[in-house]
Symmetry: C2
């Protein structure tokens, strides 16, 4: 079984963005990170994103608002950030505190700067199978992994476990765009084992530690594990239990160092794309 | 095999809208039909829609523009129609002539009056599995048919053949919202027969006359035929060939007098819903 680590995918994405940056002739795209409050997972994602942008030669501006910011102040500033021609892309860290209507922010974000695909315009583009928009970065990270490791998707039976908007549903549409025959499974699926066994490509974004083991996998299957959970000993683990898969599956993304490691690189790619679409 | 005719579904939808109209205490919702030019299929759909609205006790105003209307004139008027508080719902007949950017119209239509779900806001709602928006009427007509004939969807294996935005993809999301396990098939699907045979509910919106016959169907399957085609003799036929299905399938919608007959009733239902959401 091949281990599809994220680093190789990151390297491939960086090589691609470097070409685009060359075409931009020295222009350095700038990402605006918008954060409200001091939520720990958000701070951690922000730190990772900043490091990745630096590493890709991109700029970051951080806009931090106090937890109790008023809607008036926040949305006026958010509008300005989106309109600022010195900013190429916007990442809004979620969730927002109660007083801020997240729908209003999603509808306000400039679709051409909406790098993580939260605008209805981009969601509609993803659903329609169009190339124009930005899809949420984690779902794109799965597709980048398939591309980098040259896993054929066209005509394959793909099964997606999980139906969140940001991962499961989006990933189903991205696989469909690449001409897979796609099945979406979820907690109400009657015989998850049987469904998963039909998969040539199995993408798991269920958010349940070690939900999928060898009983769910047919020989030769390529497995993408989008889960990030803590196991019974507090260690990081995916939605897939890798034990006993090595002689069965063709390939598996590890957790950690798999899909999760690719997400911020997709964000960087989207930033460079946004700048290129505007300037080239 | 049961024949799931549209009339019974229409009657059920009318009974439902009558209740809502009672709650609206005599208020008569008004549909604005917006048409550019004299395209024959559009005229025919308009005629059917008007008749249905009348039949449901609803008002229609038709706004007709010449084929060569300028974008300035059209979009200003379209904006006014959407803003008009005497209009509860808007149906824009498509396609538009070349000089009119359909994307602009889709983004301009008021999502709360967008009865056929063309606004990105409504498309995003459908994709997210939310109840709030309006889905395209034809896809909803399939769901109304399943509801009227009390076909259970929860936990069932549903296969959708066809991936158009308006029918296939939307229908997949509506079936998923009702907790089916959904597979989307299309022209690039490797073994369509095998995929279809796994279906407990088979919805066909491929746009190919008699694509599906008994070789694609397992015993007890409920088949929804969304196709409207002309056969070799010029007669109306669906995407499903009904020959030899009667001892195999549990149920089938006929063509004509099936799903197609339900679509304008869903439009009427959406109109009444739009009025009720605004006024109740």
């Amino acid at each position: 079984m091949r281990e599809l680590t994220g680093q190789q995918v990151v390297d491939a994405i960086r090589a691609e963005t470097e070409k685009t940056l060359e075409a931009l002739g020295g222009y350095v795209p700038t990402l605006a990170i918008v954060r409200v409050g001091e939520n720990v997972p958000q701070l951690s994602y922000e730190k990772g994103a900043k490091k990745r942008m630096q590493n890709f030669g991109l700029d970051v501006k951080t806009f931090v608002f106090p937890e109790d910011v008023t809607p008036e102040v926040f949305f006026q500033r958010f509008r300005e950030i989106n309109a600022d021609s010195a900013i190429d892309g916007v990442l809004l860290l979620k969730p927002l505190p109660e007083q801020l209507d997240v729908r209003r922010a999603e509808q306000m974000i400039d679709p051409e700067k909406d790098l993580d695909g939260i605008s209805p315009v981009n969601i509609a583009r993803v659903f329609a199978g169009e190339e124009a928009g930005f899809a949420p970065c984690t779902a794109e990270a799965v597709m980048e992994t398939l591309r980098t490791y040259e896993v054929p998707v066209h005509g394959k039976r793909a099964v997606v476990v999980g139906r969140s908007l940001v991962v499961g549903r989006t990933l189903a549409m991205l696989l469909l765009r690449d001409n897979a025959t796609v099945t979406i499974c979820h907690t109400q699926t009657k015989d998850l084992k049987e469904e998963c066994k039909k998969a040539e490509i199995l993408a798991v974004a269920a958010g349940r530690a070690k939900l999928i083991d060898r009983d769910y996998v047919s020989a030769g299957c390529v497995i993408l594990d989008v889960g990030i959970n803590a196991d019974e000993n507090g260690n990081l683990c995916g939605d897939v239990n890798p034990e006993g898969l090595s002689d069965l599956a063709a390939a598996l993304t590890p957790v950690p160092r798999g899909i999760g490691a690719v997400t911020t690189s997709v964000l960087a790619k989207h930033l460079v794309q946004a700048a290129a679409r505007r300037l080239l």
